[in-house]
């Protein structure tokens, strides 16, 4: 697990005066699903486009499989599949024609059984013109095209957009299967529940800067705990407030605190009060993410 598939150093993109990404240092290991989180405009898509050499950085370097993304773009793209966030397909082709075209350009001329299997699993009828498909079905075509060559590295930008819940789960299963085969997935999303569901590690990008990269469970565990305490009678809640401890919710005698530090002192103080029950609540990635971001327009629904 220690072979870096994607590595960037101080990667910076500016559009004139406008910020793209700033000094992004990223390392994605072989065989992991790396979640890349951030709201719209944070710099996720810009990062992906630099990796695919669609956009050139003004500073820094980007390597995939140890190859420079600008100098060895063709070699890299032979091993990489990409699903863009805003998928646009040739409307006058049938899905079958479109998938065959991509197969031929990628040089896949042999066994097409995996492509057919993907279409069956996603419930995609490939006989119609692409312009006749709904948004969700177009997304399925994009997913089949990204997965069908069993890439060493799969770069997905908001892959489940427009999909119904059943197909959504199928796509996440496909992503897990890619990892089980020893391949790597770079998974950009702002749907936090699915990132928590499938990703091994996540990076959070904010205003063009990568602010944290951690394992999902570490990120959830290390950032804060949620403790709900039930007292025999209402208390002066401020008694339990201290640096790193904040009350987030109160209902009758039930008090919920977010505890970042001073856990032992907090628990000792709580125990000195008329305590009935104490429980640790599970924290979601969504809550951690919102701590990093505040509430800057993040979509948190699955």
């Amino acid at each position: 697990m220690n072979e870096a598939i994607i590595e960037t150093h101080d990667l910076t993109v500016y559009y004139g005066r406008h910020r793209g990404i700033i000094g992004v240092n990223l390392s994605v290991q072989k065989g992991e699903i790396f979640g890349f989180l951030g709201p719209n405009g944070a710099g996720k898509t810009t990062t992906l486009r630099v990796l695919l050499d669609l956009i050139r950085p003004i500073a820094g370097t980007a390597h995939i499989f140890g190859l420079d993304c600008q100098r060895n773009g063709v070699k890299i793209r032979q091993l990489v599949s990409y699903l863009p966030g805003e998928l646009n397909l040739y409307a006058n082709l049938t899905a079958e024609e479109y998938l065959k075209l991509l197969s031929k350009i990628r040089g896949i001329n042999g066994d097409q059984s995996y492509r057919q299997e993907l279409c069956e699993r996603l419930g995609l009828d490939t006989s119609r013109k692409i312009r006749e498909y709904s948004r969700g079905n177009k997304q399925k075509i994009g997913i089949v095209s990204a997965f069908m060559n069993r890439p060493e590295l799969l770069i997905l930008d908001e892959p489940t957009t427009g999909l119904d819940p059943f197909v959504h789960q199928t796509v996440l299963d496909l992503v897990r299967e890619i990892r089980e085969a020893g391949h790597t997935v770079f998974f950009s999303s702002h749907v936090l529940s699915e990132v928590q569901d499938v990703c091994d590690r996540v990076g959070i990008i904010r205003k063009g800067r990568l602010i944290v990269t951690e394992k999902v469970e570490d990120m959830i565990r290390q950032n804060f705990r949620k403790i709900r305490i039930t007292f025999a009678k209402p208390i002066q809640w401020k008694i339990l407030e201290m640096p790193g401890v904040h009350l987030t919710e109160q209902q009758d005698n039930h008090y919920t605190y977010e505890v970042k530090e001073n856990m032992q002192i907090f628990l000792k103080k709580a125990a000195s009060l008329p305590l009935l029950d104490i429980e640790t609540l599970s924290v979601t990635l969504e809550e951690v993410f919102l701590k990093f971001y505040g509430k800057e327009g993040v979509s948190t629904h699955a």
Binding site: Y14, Y15, L52, L54, R56, E86, L87, N88, L102
Partner: protein, 286 residues
């Protein structure tokens, strides 16, 4: 790359048929009515000496060669040029605007391969449209010859129609370059169309003013002969080479521009990813 060439031709099959039948119909329409007016054409000559007609390239109607050059040969490069600009500006900038280019560029193809594949497809589509035009032109000449004698041979007529190809390729590659250099298809089409119109009118208008004659050589249409001389002296190889050299230059510029282009940003060249005047890389990174 062959798959991409076939795909590019395939998605243009409707345009090939439409423009092919259109240009063939244009040739048929104009040329086949000649016998009805043949004996009256010389009466128009005084009118055709007016500058407004000269500016439109209509210079002689007294013979079939004059009629054919003032109508079919005069307007054919404009029609084909418009097709060339529409399709060539769409090829890169239009696909980028639509978003289909993003997946194409993410495939294991070098950017120059994409431009070359698309260029070959464009060249073939124009050849196919030209084939329709030739068929229409020769059919119309056949109909004319059933009724009156004319001062050109079938071979001469076929050759001068083909003479529209070099200038069509010139504008095609100009459109391809502008599509690779300018941020949007709209900007590329606007500029290419302006160059086409200015070049056509400029060449004809400057012909009327003695002091401006020298400047005509800067207009591509200067190297396309739509006068009766083309029937008498044949196609000027030097002119053809100049137009094809221009096409080659724009084609190379298109490859270079597309190679350097930051895709999906729709940015003008002064907005491309460089730090602004007030920001050094160090200040950005820290």
């Amino acid at each position: 790359m062959l798959s991409l060439i076939i795909h590019e031709i395939r998605i243009r099959r409707g345009a090939i048929l439409g423009w092919g039948f259109g240009t063939a119909g244009f040739a048929l329409l104009y040329i086949s009515i000649y016998p009805q007016f043949a004996d009256q054409m010389s009466a128009f000559q005084n009118i055709l000496d007016l500058p407004i007609y000269q500016a439109l390239g209509v210079t002689s109607m007294s013979t079939f060669s004059g009629y054919a050059s003032s109508t079919l040969l005069n307007f054919l490069p404009i029609i084909l040029g418009i097709y060339a600009l529409i399709t060539s500006t769409f090829t890169l900038a239009g696909e980028e605007d639509r978003g289909t280019l993003e997946i194409l560029v993410a495939l294991p193809l070098a950017r120059w391969q994409i431009v070359i594949a698309k260029s070959i497809a464009l060249i073939i589509t124009v050849l196919l449209i030209m084939l329709f035009t030739e068929v229409g032109g020769l059919l119309s000449l056949y109909l004319v010859l059933q009724q009156v004698n004319v001062d050109v041979s079938t071979f001469q007529f076929a050759i001068v129609i083909i003479n529209a190809l070099p200038i069509t390729y010139f504008f095609m590659m100009l459109g391809l370059f502008l599509g690779a250099f300018l941020p949007t298809r709209g900007a590329a089409s606007m500029m290419a169309t302006a160059i086409l119109i200015i070049s056509y009118l400029g060449n004809n208008l400057f012909r009327l003013v003695e002091s401006l004659q020298e400047w005509r050589r800067f207009f591509p249409f200067y190297y396309y002969d739509s006068t009766t001389r083309v029937f008498q002296e044949g196609i000027q190889i030097g002119d053809v080479l100049i137009l094809l050299s221009g096409a080659l230059l724009f084609w190379l510029l298109a490859i270079a521009s597309f190679n350097r282009r930051n895709l999906m940003t729709h940015a003008w060249f002064w907005q491309r990813p460089y730090p602004s005047k007030h920001q050094s890389i160090e200040s950005i990174n820290h």
